[in-house]
Amino acid sequence: MCLAIPALIKSIEDKEAEAEMGGITRRISLWLTPEAKIGDYVLVHTGYAINILDQKEAEETLSLLEQIAGLAEEES
């Protein structure tokens, strides 16, 4: 069980956070990871952060995702 992707915490309010993943932003819950801080990478499953990732390990995942995303250039 399965779909969880890494996201970067941009801001925290109470037990929720704004997290960014691959250019999209979503409000997520920190009920399962109350120790998460701004700047942490977390694994997000159905809107909840289920684990805090090691930054180095997270960047590795994101670059794997980007490889699969095809052309590297992105229009802004």
Binding site: M1, C2, L3, I5, M21, G22, G23, I24, T25, R26, V44, H45, T46, L65, E66, Q67, I68, A69, G70, L71, E73, E74, E75
Partner: protein, 338 residues
């Protein structure tokens, strides 16, 4: 008193009487100004010579406003693109509105403005139309139906059954933008993205492609069902197989992220400003160059080729180098957790 009531569209606006005429004059004729429409006859009459392309479509998108467009822009571009996919130069559109009573006048005005802008960019005129207003609950705010005609230039014969083994498959740009932009607005799935719908008229792009080569065999715009469905349709119609390469298909980072999050495959997500072309191999590079010079083809790429074996099948070489079948979309595209 009457001023206040006119802020919303009422059933009376669709009944054919004075309010109807006012609505048509004020909201439609003025904004979409052209001589044929202004006559307000029951039908628009015009001359033409040559082969005609004729299409019809209905638009029921919800929400009616989404990042990068609205149902009006979608209606014009969608119809224009259907004509362009036959190689035609789009000329005239009809436009019918089925309005749910209570729709704010300001929203209708905004949509008509969108239609006017899109029609102008596409070089088409809205020459005839119809308006009905239905009870609350009978239409999801607004449904739009269109029909369109265009002229096919001499010597152009594009059709879904003309793909031949050896042809190259060219995609005009990134996939999944429209579907994800619309999904981001849906209740229960909300996320914020700067991503906008790719809704755009492709008539000029197609004209430039036809200038570059007379050997464009097929054109298709991958709307509902996405690229995968369109390629399957072409493979079946032409009785060939199509082989594409995952690494060559352009996908925006945000679309990839949203698809990962929701469990969707970008191959099946709708596009409203893209086309896939099947072109004779020797002309593929020329057509590609022409596409990249157009605003709507900047990220065009050759993504695969047509083969003879396994007719009707679409196969994709994955980023790992293995192969898998790409089938048509079955049912709805649903977000999933697993």
């Amino acid at each position: 008193m009457e001023e206040v009531l006119e802020d919303k569209i009422l059933l009376a606006h669709g009944s054919g009487g004075k309010l109807s005429h006012e609505l048509v004059e004020r909201s439609f004729v003025k904004a979409l100004a052209n001589p044929l429409l202004a006559k307000l006859d029951d039908s628009a009459v015009f001359d033409f010579s040559g082969r005609l392309a004729f299409t019809t479509d209905s638009y029921v998108v919800s929400p009616i406003f989404f990042p990068g467009g609205d149902i009006g822009k979608l209606a014009v571009c969608g119809t224009v693109n259907d004509l362009a996919m036959s190689g035609a130069r789009p000329l005239y559109l009809s436009l019918s509105f089925i309005i749910e009573e209570g729709l704010p006048q300001s929203e209708l005005n905004q949509i008509v403005n969108s239609i006017q802008k899109a029609a102008r960019e596409a070089g088409v005129e809205i020459v005839t139309g119809d308006t009905k207003v239905v009870h609350k609950g009978s239409a999801d705010k607004l449904f739009v139906n269109t029909a369109g005609v265009g002229i096919i230039p001499e010597g152009v014969d594009i059709s879904g059954d003309k793909a031949r083994p050896g042809d190259r498959v060219i995609l005009s740009g990134t996939i999944g933008d429209h579907g994800i932009a619309v999904l981001s607005q849906r209740e229960g799935l909300s996320f914020f993205t700067r991503l906008e719908s790719d809704c755009a008229p492709l008539g000029d792009l197609v004209a430039e492609m036809l200038n570059a080569s007379p050997n464009i065999h097929c054109l298709r715009d991958p709307t509902r069902g996405g690229l995968a469905t369109s390629l399957n349709e072409l493979a079946k119609q032409s009785k060939v197989s199509i082989r594409i390469e995952e690494e060559k298909i352009p996908v925006r980072e945000e679309v990839m992220a949203a698809c990962e999050m929701l469990g969707l495959d970008p191959l099946y997500v709708a596009n409203e400003g893209k086309l896939v072309a099947i072109v004779l191999a020797e002309d593929a590079d020329k057509v590609l160059t022409a596409m990249r010079e157009n605003n709507y083809g900047k990220r065009a790429a050759i993504i695969g080729e047509v083969r003879a074996e396994n007719p009707g099948r679409v196969v994709m070489k994955t980023c790992l180098g293995a192969s898998r079948i790409v089938d048509m979309l079955v049912g709805d595209l649903l977000p999933r957790i697993c």
